[in-house]
């Protein structure tokens, strides 16, 4: 036992440690720069995605059956709630169609091609999630062949849930906004105030304890109240304008009293969705 740390074993351990540290550093730094991973990496991910669909198909089927059974029990209350909202919706839909038509005609009049609010949507379904707890990645079944590119925003339900961080040929990884400290780009958002003006900022971090997004370093939070809507501002260059993010919950002054943080409740429950929408912005930045 006293020869346990003999030279040979020590050297092997040191080499392994150096290899591991360099692997981690290399994958972090190189992964950030490229828009798509290396071909062999992509091929491995695509192959795994195909095999994975064999395993995840029955599991998703069982989950769907469970959801259907659960829906059976809640159908009556949901029906009553939805009927109450239908009249409102029909009116809103008619208004939106009229506004869209007017907007399109006005854009043509001033010969404006595409603005920050124009985008295309692609639906995808979630096949797996990352098992590691501090990496909130989803794996979706659309990739470069379907037109997905890195840094595209992703929505589920009615709200924003994350950004595409890695694109393979047939699948992609989405980094959720609930990641503590994300390696992906932050979202540029704005709060729509009652008098029609907006306060812009970025989502700095995620408060895990209360499940709230935090808009940090807001210099002048006057007239911002709880309940106001938060949407993407389009100013970051990657996300179109007008994607729903959430509602303001509270405003807190930072430690030195110079700036404030606005706490936002996300629009979607970040734990329970199966279908996501990838948003492709029409205006290319740069």
């Amino acid at each position: 036992m006293h020869n346990f740390f003999s030279n040979k074993k020590l050297i092997i351990i040191m080499v392994v440690v150096i290899l591991v540290v360099s692997m981690i550093t290399a994958s972090l730094t190189l992964g950030q720069k490229k828009s798509q991973p290396a071909l062999i990496h992509q091929a491995a991910n695509d192959g795994l995605g195909l095999i994975g669909s064999v395993v995840s198909a029955p599991i998703n089927g069982v989950r769907d059956i469970g959801d259907n059974v659960h829906s059976l029990f809640t159908t009556y209350q949901e029906n009553r709630r939805l009927k109450a909202n239908i009249d409102d919706l029909a009116q809103t839909k008619a208004q939106i169609n009229a506004l869209k038509k007017e907007n399109k005609e006005l854009k043509q009049l001033v010969k404006l091609n595409k603005t920050l609010t124009d985008y295309h949507q692609m639906t995808a379904s979630v096949t797996s999630r990352s098992p590691n707890n501090w990496q909130n990645y989803l794996i979706i079944n659309k990739g470069a062949l379907a037109g997905v590119k890195k840094d595209m925003p992703v929505m589920a339900g009615s709200g924003l849930i994350g950004r595409i961080v890695e694109v393979n040929q047939t699948n992609s990884k989405v980094s959720l906004i609930s990641t503590d400290k994300s390696l992906s780009n932050k979202f540029a958002v704005e709060v729509t105030k009652e008098d029609g003006t907006n306060t812009s900022g970025i989502i700095g971090r995620y408060d895990k304890e209360h499940n709230l997004l935090v808009m940090t370093n807001v210099a002048a939070p006057d007239k911002i109240k709880a309940g106001q809507l938060v949407i993407t501002s389009g100013l970051g260059g990657l996300t179109p304008r007008g994607l729903y993010v959430g509602k303001v919950v509270s405003i807190k002054k930072d430690d030195y009293g110079l700036a404030s943080s606005i706490f936002i409740k996300p629009a979607t429950d970040l734990n329970n969705f199966t279908v996501v929408t990838v948003i492709s912005r029409d205006v290319r930045h740069g």
């Binding site: 692997m23 981690i24 972090l28 991973p37 797996s128 707890n133 501090w134 503590d180």
Partner: protein, 175 residues
């Protein structure tokens, strides 16, 4: 059902079983919303469980499990996270350590479960340390234990006990 005679078929059988565990880890985490609450974050580690059980029940002392674990560790990192060096280290290291303690572990649920428990704790602590060094997680030690480590150990231990008998039977066929 008798034991499988052909060595290639045995290796393919082991690889397929490990791949099923590989994909179950991700599928279960996406399908069960219970595992993703902020105060109850469970990291499903069925592949780790399969590797440990295979090593402990391996009567042939072959080296192939080490190479399988290295390959699957690299694929795991490539598919589920973008950082190589997390599970690439955990799976082979677990196989090596379990192989060296194999002679001391008697074949019963409790002893094998404790091996799995220790391996799971060590791997989660390793992942947490890497995450903290890279400043990719802001969770402090107390929250790590109550929100991550505790729930993960709990759920994975339950899964271990439920799957122990069927998995050991299948491993027996693949020897």
């Amino acid at each position: 059902m008798g034991k499988i005679k052909s060595v290639t078929a045995k290796y393919w059988g082991q690889l397929i079983l490990l791949l099923v565990g590989f994909f179950l880890d991700g599928s279960l985490k996406s399908v069960l919303p219970l595992l993703n609450r902020s105060f109850f974050q469970v990291s499903v580690q069925i592949l780790l469980m399969l590797l440990i059980l295979m090593v402990l029940h391996n009567s042939d002392h072959d080296n192939q499990l080490f190479w399988f674990s290295l390959l699957l560790g690299v694929l795991y990192d490539s598919y589920y996270s973008r950082i190589f060096g997390l599970y690439t280290v955990i799976f082979p290291l677990t196989v090596l350590c379990t192989r060296s303690v194999r002679q001391y572990v008697t074949e019963s649920v409790i002893f094998e479960w404790s091996t799995y428990f220790i391996a799971l704790t060590a791997s989660l602590i390793y992942l947490y340390i890497i995450g903290s060094f890279l400043h990719l997680t802001m969770v402090n030690g107390t929250h790590f234990i109550t929100d991550w480590l505790g729930p993960t150990l709990l759920v994975n231990s339950l899964v271990f006990i439920i799957l122990y008998w069927p998995v050991t039977k299948i491993i027996g066929w693949l020897q």
